[in-house]
């Protein structure tokens, strides 16, 4: 961990399958699923291109695991269809789907050491011993678990066990891997490290990954495409950057980004040339001209990193500093227009050395150097007014 020096993975032939690949590993079309009286999935449609890393992002209860279980064949859709590698998967048993599903908590064989656990799927298939050893060693190196290969699970840390479990799932060639929050039980630092390894492994080996996570950072860092899922519905399918820059609605904007996006009630005034908020008036930026705001009112979204602290309290919007959250090199400042009134709070990012010179309760000025990234949402529906 103290060195970024590379782990070399010997090139071999076990990365991609021999048969020609279909363009789409998974194609879900309008899948609906109800459990009891409750709708778990409501017309869920998306595709997973072969060789891609697709991430299902959503809060707890959004339907992420249900979606993965449908793909794996553990549950059947009430309506809609699922095709795997261009073939209708209806009625195909999970074991015949050529899929590996990796859970947050995979059980290991308690009486087998790390090596035997990882190697067990290969040993069953009767591969030569030397090849098994090479494969396990290479994978163990990538997953940083070479040191636990000779140890029993009970002597490993939780993170080590999870990585051994990952290794056991990845050691087999499968045309589609379904990963259900595979990193969520790991330490923060390890999680970040391992997600980069997972992505590199996926690229190098040409794996097809469909991964579910509630962590937008993880989704942003990993995904080729993000499927934003909420209350059983797909609300947006886009690249990570589009998801951040052009969220389809307020909920998505709030979910993606830390510190959270600021939302302010706003109205278009001055015959369509200005935005008026409780904080003051801004010129209407070009990209917001002609937005269809009902009665001219809308909700303005400002990302914390687009706001800046003015050199003095008289410049820009004036506010009082109510909280400083250090995050290392940067800090999050929370300001409000009057003490105790939570209605007009803004968060902004600033350098920590600067933030340390500030005192809670002191007046500050806030400026918006570039209005080109402002977002606008419908007050009622929350839909973006910019798309």
């Amino acid at each position: 961990m103290t060195s970024t020096n590379k782990n070399h993975i010997p090139e071999d032939s076990w990365d991609v399958r021999d048969q020609p690949a279909a363009a789409l590993a998974l194609d879900m079309a309008a899948v609906c699923k109800r459990f009891g009286g409750k709708t778990a999935l409501n017309q869920v449609s998306f595709t997973v291109p072969t060789g891609s890393l697709t991430v299902i992002l959503g809060p707890a209860g959004a339907g992420k695991t249900t979606t993965l279980r449908m793909a794996a064949g553990f549950d059947a859709p009430d309506q809609g269809g699922i095709a795997l590698h261009g073939v209708n998967a209806e009625g195909v048993e999970p074991k015949d789907r050529d899929i590996a599903m990796i859970f947050d908590n995979l059980a290991l064989y308690p009486n087998k050491n790390g090596f035997e656990n990882i190697a067990s799927p290969l040993a069953i298939r009767g591969l030569p011993r030397k090849e098994i050893q090479e494969r396990v060693a290479a994978l163990a190196e990538t997953l940083h678990i070479a040191h636990v290969l000779n140890r029993l699970p009970k002597t490993m840390s939780g993170g080590e066990r999870q990585r051994v479990a990952l290794g056991r799932a990845l050691i087999r060639s499968r045309r589609l891997y379904l990963l259900d929050e595979p990193l969520s039980s790991l330490d923060a630092q390890l999680r970040i490290e391992l997600r980069a390894e997972l992505k590199r492994l996926q690229r190098e080996r040409g794996y097809t990954f469909l991964m579910a996570t509630p962590d937008f950072n993880e989704a942003m860092a990993l995904a080729d495409t993000v499927i934003m899922l909420r209350e059983g519905r797909v609300v947006q399918v886009s690249t990570p950057q589009e998801l951040y820059d052009a969220p389809v609605d307020r909920e998505t904007a709030l979910f993606v980004g830390s510190p959270q996006i600021n939302l302010l009630r706003a109205a278009i005034t001055g015959e369509g040339s200005a935005i008026e908020t409780a904080w003051g008036t801004l010129p209407l930026p070009p990209h917001m001209r002609g937005i269809a705001a009902a009665n001219g009112e809308f909700e303005l979204g400002l990302r914390p990193e687009d706001l800046e602290l003015a050199p003095d309290a008289r410049t820009g919007l004036s506010a009082l500093l109510v909280d400083v959250e250090p995050l290392g090199l940067k800090s999050v400042l929370t300001v409000e227009n009057a003490p105790g009134k939570a209605a007009f709070r803004l968060r902004l990012l600033t350098g920590s050395s600067h933030a340390r010179a500030l005192e809670l309760g002191q007046p500050v000025g806030i400026t918006l150097p570039d209005a080109g990234r402002l977002l606008a949402f419908d007050v009622q529906s929350g839909r973006s007014l910019l798309l």
Partner: protein
């Protein structure tokens, strides 16, 4: 000088049948009203340390002093140390009020006093209107507040929180961090956070002690530790992403130094890392540290490093770009609009004064090349 609230003196814990000490002679001092985070990966010894402070485990040697008095022989319940676990340990069959009152009822505190204490704590936690609600109906962050409140009513002289936020979802976690900072300001408690999450440590604590392998590697004010890690482990642990670390050899060359790590070779000007000239024969094993924020992308022929982009990890307004420079991967943080495509060849420009060196053997920040 005022007396420290808590002192750990050469505190050591060795388990039977273990060949290394779980906690190995750590020293730590916390003043009244301070917040300190004990930060480290699982297995580093932080939970064992916490258990010894609380009294759940007995040290093999060393001392624990609260207000200057050794508490090693004081049973857990009498140390006046409050512990809030990661799992909330809230009774779901009880109301919020019953949960908050529980600790005092066990101690047979008079009813009127319990009532006062419970109401005060509920107000502090913003839960005055939830006192009659059953704990079963509470969400994660409310449960966490009840768990903290249950401990606060007993007026502990030190509050220990074990991974207090790890069970919360992102939004609730952010709100809870703000809440904890406010709480600490309002009541001036001495708080120790035990966590593996650097963001939690940095955002909540005045000071951080980084643990690894049973040792404390550095204790410093939070900003000091972020800006000037004194040990290579700390440098590789803090930051997102953490500092790039390259193990290699530094030797004097002409007016400056030559650093080489495998096929990577580059000359460093005299000012690098505030470097003083090494002795003429002074080739040394060193780890070079470069913060991902201290580099900028440039044309391939102009930087200190060049290589192909192996990975681009967007995170909103910026991206973490991993560059394959031959024998190592270097990570750089760049504004989103500058993000290159994968496989593109880029150069990395580094400000010489932002380079830091750690001794290759001890891991300590090099005194020889100290700024």
């Amino acid at each position: 000088m005022s007396m420290p609230k808590l002192e750990l003196v050469n505190l050591t814990k060795q388990y039977d049948n273990a060949d290394v000490n779980a906690v190995d002679g750590i020293n730590l001092t916390i003043d009244a009203g301070q917040t300190l985070a004990l930060l480290g990966s699982s297995g580093c010894g932080k939970s064992t340390t916490l258990n010894m402070i609380v009294g759940l485990e007995r040290p093999t040697s060393g001392d624990i002093r609260i207000d200057g008095v050794s508490v090693v022989d004081v049973p857990a319940g009498r140390r006046n140390v409050g512990l809030v676990f990661q799992d909330y340990a809230v009774f779901t069959s009880m109301t919020v009020r019953e949960n908050l009152a529980f600790g005092l009822e066990v101690r047979k505190t008079p009813k009127a006093e319990i009532q006062r204490a419970v109401e005060k704590v509920a107000e502090l936690l913003g839960m005055s209107d939830k006192l009659r609600v059953s704990a079963r109906e509470l969400g994660g962050s409310e449960l966490q507040r009840v768990a903290i409140g249950r401990t606060l009513v007993t007026r502990p002289s030190i509050l220990l929180l074990d991974e207090p936020l790890s069970n919360l979802e992102t939004a609730a976690r952010l709100a809870m961090r703000q809440e904890l900072r406010r709480l600490q300001r309002d009541i001036g408690l001495t708080i120790i956070y035990v966590t593996h999450d650097q963001v939690e440590a940095i955002s909540l604590a005045d000071r951080i002690a980084v643990m690894n392998g049973g040792h404390i590697l550095q204790t410093a004010e939070t900003h000091e530790m972020c800006e000037r890690p004194s040990h290579v482990f700390v440098a590789g642990f803090l930051g997102s992403p953490p500092m790039n670390l390259l193990r290699g050899t530094l030797e004097p060359a002409g007016n400056g130094h030559l650093f080489h790590a495998g096929p990577l070779r580059f000359a460093l000007p005299h000012t690098a890392g505030g470097a003083e000239p090494l002795a003429a024969d002074g080739a040394r094993n060193m780890v070079l540290g470069i913060r991902p924020e201290d580099m900028a992308l440039c044309p391939a022929d102009q930087g200190l490093f060049a290589g192909a982009v192996a990975l681009v990890e967007p995170r909103g307004h910026e991206s973490v770009v991993t560059v394959d420079v031959g024998d190592a991967y270097i990570k750089v943080v760049t504004p989103m609009r500058n993000a290159p495509g994968e496989d593109e060849t880029v150069g990395l420009a580094v400000r010489a004064e932002s380079l830091v060196f750690f001794d290759g053997e001890t891991g300590q920040r090099s005194a020889h090349l100290h700024s």
